[in-house]
Symmetry: C2
Subunit: 155 residues, 2 copies
C-alpha cells in the first residue's frame, strides 16, 4: 500500500489556530495585510503607494502643513516623512515653501499636477474603499470606532 498525496500527516487539512483565532492583534495584521495588497494592486499600479497617497491626501486637506505635523497625522517619524516628501516633490505633485514666520518650517501644498493625479486616482481608491465598505457592511461604524480606539489608546 502506497502512501498517497495528502494522506501522510493524519488530519491536518484544517489548521487549528487555537487562541490565536480569538486574538484581535492577529486578525488585525491579516486584515491590514490583505487590504494593503489589494490597494497596492489597484491604485498602487497607478504610481502611488498607500503611504504616498495618504501623505498627499493630508497635504491637500491641510495646505501649508509641515512635515512634523504630517508625520503625526500618518503616525510616522519625521525621518520617514522626508523621503515621501522628496518623492512627491520630485514628481511635481507638491510644492515646498519656506514659512515666512519660521524659516525652519517648510509649508507643503499640492500642485495642479498633484490635484490631477489625485483626481485620476480617486476612482481606484474609491473602488478599494467601497470594497472594504461592502465587506464591512453595517459593521463599519463599529469597526472604525474600534480601530480608532485601538490606535489611540493602546500603550
Amino acid at each position: 500500500m502506497v502512501a498517497r498525496k495528502r494522506v501522510s500527516p493524519p488530519g491536518l487539512r484544517v489548521v487549528n489556530l487555537g487562541t490565536l483565532d480569538d486574538a484581535i492583534g492577529f486578525h488585525l495584521r491579516r486584515a491590514q495585510d490583505a487590504s494593503f495588497r489589494a490597494f497596492a494592486s489597484s491604485a498602487g499600479r497607478h504610481d502611488l503607494k498607500p503611504g504616498h497617497f495618504a501623505a498627499l491626501l493630508v497635504i491637500v486637506n491641510n495646505p501649508g502643513i509641515g512635515q512634523g505635523a504630517l508625520g503625526q497625522a500618518i503616525s510616522r517619524d519625521k525621518s520617514s516623512v522626508t523621503p515621501i516628501i522628496q518623492t512627491l516633490f520630485n514628481r511635481g505633485l507638491i510644492d515646498r515653501q519656506t514659512s515666512a514666520f519660521d524659516r525652519r518650517r517648510i509649508q507643503l501644498s499640492i500642485t495642479t499636477s498633484g490635484r490631477a493625479l489625485l483626481r485620476r486616482l480617486v476612482p481606484h481608491v474609491r473602488a478599494h474603499d467601497r470594497k472594504l465598505d461592502t465587506i464591512a457592511g453595517a459593521d463599519k461604524p463599529v469597526l472604525l470606532r474600534a480601530l480608532r480606539r485601538i490606535a489611540n489608546e493602546i500603550s
Copy 2:
C-alpha cells in the same frame, strides 16, 4: 509684534484628514501598527516577536504541521517561514522531523523548552490581548467578524 511659537501657520493645530478619516484601510494600518508596537514592547521584550510567537502557537496547536501549511495559516510565503523556523529551532523551541510518509516534508512540533517559553510568555500575551479586548469592549465580536471578512474576502 513678533511671530510667536505656533502662530505661524494659521489654524493648523488639528490636522484635517479629509476622506482619509473615513477610510477603513487607513485606520486598519494605524491600529495594526499601534498594536504591533505594544506587543513588541511587552511580550517582545521577552525574546519572541509577534511573527515568531504566532508561528509557535500554530505549531503547538497543530503538531506535525509542515512549513507550507504553517505559512498559509499565518499568511506568509514558505520562503518567509524558513527563517522563522530556523530561529525557533536554533533556540530549541521546536523540533523538526522528516515525515516517514513523504521525506520532503518536515513535521514541526514544540519542544519542552518551547512549551516553557510559551508558558512564561502567556501572561504578557494575555495582558496584551486583554488590553485590546478592553479597548474593543462590546465591539469585539463585530470587530473580529469584520477583520476576518476583510482578510478573507478582499481581492
